[in-house]
Symmetry: C2
Subunit: 317 residues, 2 copies
């Protein structure tokens, strides 16, 4: 009885579902198309089907489930179990937790992608063994989650660690949120690509010129080949990412900052620069005692994080 | 038995000590000169004497003390009870908690000024009734403390909420810590005074000219009289203070940010500007749900905070 937890990574195109033992070892996994256009009820039914499928796969009755964790794009109300709204899913102010609880008769926990990833890294990834850690994801946007005294920290409106919207350059470029100089506007993958596009469209001499729709990936590639313009773009954007991380360290004084998301896959060039800025800008004791590490969970991070959410919330009951 | 807590505010010039009931109502209070030059033992003896004095004043035996809280300038190691070093006190890597515990046979808690003030505001001041709040002190420097889920948050090296050293202007003026553009270098009382001094020494037409050693206080006075240069200085520095507060809200999503310290006594001009920046830069839901309030504890804040430390730590045991 109660031998497993189930994690669901709810995305706009697919629903990933995994069953794991109470230590987080995945026993079976399935992926279904979300088919968001079919509406709230249909997507909910497929989430339920996914749970039933993985339990059938390990030949275990539904009674063996101890808890279910759901990771979803936000904004959402984690405490109430409500998905407020999200561009690629049909749910509008939809309580996703209640019908799941009713169906499976176990505690169901909901949290946003960044928090779920933070919990995953904390329990099963690069943050294992820490008590206070911050996870930052850097891709199209910048988001984050913090573990404080061994628990996810959500804040007053479930928006804590919106670090992508920390002001880094007071008079910097306009962010999608309307503010000027947010971390997301100067240090995200989108920001890197935007700078590259400006360079391509200018008279700058750069090998980036070959690309029509330049992305941050191409900037990393051309910089590694020695293109000076690409290198300068990375140097500038990663400097701002370093300041973002340094400000996080100054505020939270964590044991580790874990960086995930597409930009983190730039590897050493990213982590060396961030580390350099942290060493320059943070108090020595804080910089020395805080590791800056790449995320430990790979492409499976979403569903592993959802599993970890179920484990962490069950433990802290 | 165990009817009182004692708070000690340890300063470079004086030791303030108060005894309070378990709700924080001060019953008696005394102040002794620190006489720091007499060394560690002598100052410790005077701290003990101060505790004995306040207990005698209310005619209660020492056995009626439940816990003692000590607020001290940092850096210090709160968990171990050690004052690492501080410019105006004789203690160097000195465990102040052990001898106090031995003398009074009760739990003794130590924390730095900013955390103690945060706890005081949380239990007995403007933060009463909240679960998550951040306290920011803005005077010569800028410091802070956070209550997270009802407990003080110290971080990994006891340096959490060093918000004065958050980078606000990446290429801004040099901070005393060595970094560029820290909040403290652009938004503290010292920063305001420095800008005023530059103005006085320039050809700018300003009524600040009358002062030789201009302070932030004079800038507030002249700005209130309509001096344009003083107004522009305040507008700029308080804008940066607003960004600092906005970044804190983005990171911690607290119910309230409480601002204390000398600069906060500028009143509406300070709080109106900070609020304006928060409304501009923060997500609407976060800005709307987070109050920005002046500190509720007055000149007695240090010793009241030490009393609150004793109460909070006793409660959470």
């Amino acid at each position: 009885m109660e031998k497993y937890v189930v994690g669901i990574d709810l995305g706009g195109t697919k629903i990933c579902c995994a069953v794991a033992d109470l230590k987080g070892n995945i026993k079976a996994q399935t992926t279904l198309a979300t088919l968001a256009h079919e509406g709230e009820g249909a997507v909910l039914a497929r989430m339920i089907l996914a749970v039933e499928t993985v339990m059938k796969e390990i030949n275990a009755p539904l009674e063996d489930i101890k808890a279910i964790g759901i990771g979803s794009p936000g904004p959402l109300d984690a405490e109430k179990g409500i998905i407020v709204t999200t561009p690629n899913l049909p749910f509008k102010n939809f309580n996703i937790v209640n019908p799941m609880t009713e169906r499976f008769n176990v505690p169901v926990y909901l949290d946003n992608d960044a928090n779920v990833a933070a919990i995953g890294e904390y329990l099963l990834g690069a943050g294992k063994g820490t008590k206070n850690m911050v996870y930052v994801t850097v891709s199209t946007g910048i988001g984050g989650g913090a573990i404080v005294n061994g628990k996810i920290y959500r804040g007053n409106t479930s928006n804590a660690l919106e670090v992508g919207h920390m002001t880094i350059v007071p008079d910097g470029p306009r962010c999608n949120c309307g503010n000027l100089g947010c971390a997301e506007a100067v240090a995200s993958g989108t920001a890197i690509a935007k700078r590259a596009k400006e360079a391509v469209e200018s008279k700058a001499e750069t090998s980036l010129k070959n690309y029509e729709n330049v992305t941050s990936y191409e900037v990393f590639v051309e910089a590694s080949k020695g293109d000076k313009v690409a290198k300068a773009i990375l140097d500038s954007c990663l400097n701002y990412l370093g300041i973002t991380v340094a400000n996080i360290i100054t505020s939270f004084d964590p044991e580790v900052v874990i960086i995930g998301g597409g930009v983190s896959q730039g590897g050493d060039v990213v982590f060396d620069k961030v580390r350099e800025v942290v060493n320059t800008r943070n108090f020595k004791t804080m910089a020395d005692s805080c590791k800056v590490l790449p995320a430990g969970l790979g492409t499976n991070a979403g569903v592993v994080g959802a599993v970890a959410l179920a484990i962490l919330e069950t433990e802290s009951v």
